[in-house]
Symmetry: C2
Subunit: 183 residues, 2 copies
């Protein structure tokens, strides 16, 4: 894998659910002009197909919480196993003390519709705007709308990683087909 993906392609908003439903660990970027941050996260779910709404928890003890509340924008970046150690590293450190892009050798790229950066090394990037904060005070639960999605079309079998807790992760395995009438 090249360290910097050049083949990024627009991805239909109507298919965003297929990227998030399998439950991958994601990296949320926040910030604007100058000091972006990265947070590793697993507590997310689709809320609506289109426009795609995503709900996720960012604890108020995380540095990203304040950035997201202030800017109301973020990017959900989806990494694969090739950069798993960087993903875990971002989860072990705080943006209050560390520039995680520099520390972990990740490349911030410009988003098209939000101020937060894309992570170039991730195979998919979802630019988001906060859509609902009613559950933030009680549960730190944000609902965001995906307003632009990108994917690296050269990645056919995205080996996403899935958190099992306490240092253990599952890597996406084989694909199967089942008779399904669902989207």
């Amino acid at each position: 894998m090249s360290p910097c993906r050049m083949a990024r392609k627009s991805f239909p908003l109507s298919k965003v659910y297929s990227l998030l439903e399998p439950g991958p660990v994601v990296m949320v970027t926040t910030g604007r002009n100058g000091y972006p941050n990265i947070m590793t996260m697993s507590w997310h779910t689709m809320i609506e197909f289109e426009p795609p709404l995503v709900g996720f928890v960012i604890s108020s003890s995380n540095y990203s919480f304040g950035l997201l509340k202030a800017t109301r924008e973020c990017v959900i970046n989806i990494p694969t196993v090739e950069i798993a150690e960087k993903v875990a590293g971002c989860g072990n450190t705080s943006g209050a003390k560390t520039d995680k892009f520099k520390r972990f050798g990740l490349t911030p790229g410009p988003a098209s519709k939000v101020g937060a950066p894309l992570i170039e090394e991730c195979y998919a990037n979802l630019e988001c705007r906060v859509a609902d904060t009613k559950m933030v005070n009680k549960y730190c639960f944000f609902i965001v709308e995906v307003i632009k999605a990108w994917i690296d079309p050269t990645v056919k079998n995205s080996r996403t990683i899935h958190h099992l807790g306490r240092g253990s992760f599952m890597v996406a395995g084989e694909k199967i087909r089942l008779k399904s009438r669902m989207k």
Copy 2:
């Protein structure tokens, strides 16, 4: 795999997150006395570690929506690839017309704290009570508390299935360990 699991064992509530974070397709059972239902679902997330809170979307067009609103109880059952066709089958049919336990040869077992049944063929079962319905009207988003959890301790590598959309599913692959300070 035996069709009916006998080895069910209590599972600590503090570790429930490790079952749901990886994003498996789950089967939600609802109902009380007589007419239980099953719904296949992928839109769920952890909300809090302990007591474990889980948020999920059940569309108001689903038969389970009314059952859950009325009874305020459900079981989140986690299947593995061995019963993948039954899982997809439950997703393709409506409980308004079909007894899915009979139709797909699944076995309802008694839960300990809720009226909805466990699915015996699933390797883990989470008995839940509805904790918050503030987001139900707008997003069909329920927050439930897991009040009792069960697991089949003989299943060491749970090959959960993960929805990719349109009949395509990913099966949980290899496990890796990373240096992580997260729970």
